[in-house]
Amino acid sequence: MINMKKRTGFVCGDKMKRKETAYIKEKKWLAEGIVSMRLSVSFAALVKAGQFVSLFVRDTARLLPRPISIADADAEAGTIRLVFRVAGEGTRQIAAMEEGEALEVLGPLGNGFPLEAAAGKTVILAAGGIGIPPMLLTAKQLLCTTGARPRWCTPALCVHADGWRNEETFLLDDLRETGNVLIATDDGSVGVHGTVIDALTKWENECTTGARPLWCNAVIFACGPKPMLRALKEFAAERDVPLYVSMEERMACGVGVCLGCVTKTAGVDDHSKVCNARVCTDGPVFDARDVVL
């Protein structure tokens, strides 16, 4: 029996979720189809790295919320930053909104990364494509630059490994402020020509300390497309490194009632009593051992 809450150390049902009107404080295009927005929300101080919000389209034909990961949160300014890809008509309409406009936001949702699992370790933040944005806040919260975190939680070293499609390496400058970034691109225009795994393997070979000392005190947090997560699971298992993956699935409610966004689990899940866990509430972050990728 898998108890997701016990495994990842999170407790749901903390009565922090709310739906409210948010205002766009800043908007800019980072790359082709990739937009960055800062929104004023009441819950900026509550956000944990790896959580997401639901955005609502101002269109009565498009009613379901769009789940978007939180790229950054500024408790003092009361804002969150979202970086997302225009994937269809709903996200196109949201991305077309301008500074000063209002939209409905539901959040913060999901569990987030188990930051304490990185305490004193080398933490690898591996991400691909539109999985990259939540790693910015993850790195910031790990390094205590956002919010107050006890010293013992701090990792020894934070390394990013990110895969982009091409030379449009959005968020790279922001990521570099929080650690070394290993770069891979699909077309080879920047960094390693290949995947995040290729970039990690290259880094592993370059490290003079040898493979064992490098990996014996490490943990990987990952977010990206399923093939990438699948490959990372194998990579991590070979090196016996703990891996936490942030998953994505088609969602409706976003709060755990509709059972639309389930992922297959390795064992019987404590909530569903079958081998299904809800990505929106039991996740989106799972111990890679607990889910079938």
Binding site: G13, D14, K15, K17, R18, K19, F56, T60, A61, R62, L63, L64, P65, G90, L106, E249, R250, M251, A252, C253, G254, V255, G256, V257, C258, L259, G260, C261, V262, T263, H271, S272, K273, V274, C275, N276, T281
Partner: protein
Amino acid sequence: MTKKKEAKPNMPDMRVSIAGVELKNPVVTSSGTFGSGQEYSEFYDLARLGGITCKGIADVPWEGNPVPRVAEISSGMLNAIGLQNPGVEEFMRRDLPFLKEQDTVVIVNVAGHAEEEYLRVVDALNGAEGADLLEINISCPNVKAGGLAMGTDPRMVERITRLSKEHASQPVIMKLTPNVTDIREIAKAAEAGGADALSLINTVTGMKIDIERRTFALSNKTGGMSGPCIKPLAVRMVYEVARSVKLPIIGMGGIMNADDAVEFMLAGATAVSVGMANFVNPYAAAEVADGLRDYCVRHGISAVRELIGAVR
């Protein structure tokens, strides 16, 4: 107009009765859109609702369908969850004690593939404290056997209704599918079987094709349509059924706000159920209940039950 008449009327009487069970207001939630209440209790006090209908419960845990299980359509959604549920044992251990503590009526939705599966759940719930009403789901379009297959044949509807009544200690509501030629025949069959109330409509079978991937949007190929896009169909069916049987009706299908709820009551519904709207606004059901009261105040209606079937 005299000064006295201009004064604010007293609070309207919002109570309605379904098969002898009193609801503090006519607004309940639709099965499958509200879990067993815990998740939405994070947003508001469930005592604001007339009732809660829990997710369909079977005799044993069900896996449901593979993903993708949900898709958006114009002014609505398609779902093919496939009645994933933890089984009646876990429901009674974990969910029912929570529901019992809420100051609201609890309607337990009963699912199955076959007669004996439905009856095992009904038996398990017999005498269960906190389970005020049973709603028999003979209309789910997303399971291969039972569900819809049972709900489209008047003889089978009459039979499963009669058997459910024999096994249940609670009043029995039969949930009807719109995927039939004449829903009045099905309603009459349920009445003949001894149903205490009816709820309608369940989702309408639909399909969406993803033209980029050139495949079905749902792994199950078909799914149940819900949301505002099905509301006119639902209102028409509530109206037809209300004129064909003497049973109280819980009306549902695309109710997004209090105005929609009023429409269903005028068509003949005694109570109304909020479904997909919960996904669009977690406070939706409570807001419909408040808005319905405001409507009564605004129109000088002293008891909300005056609205039931008022349009002929």
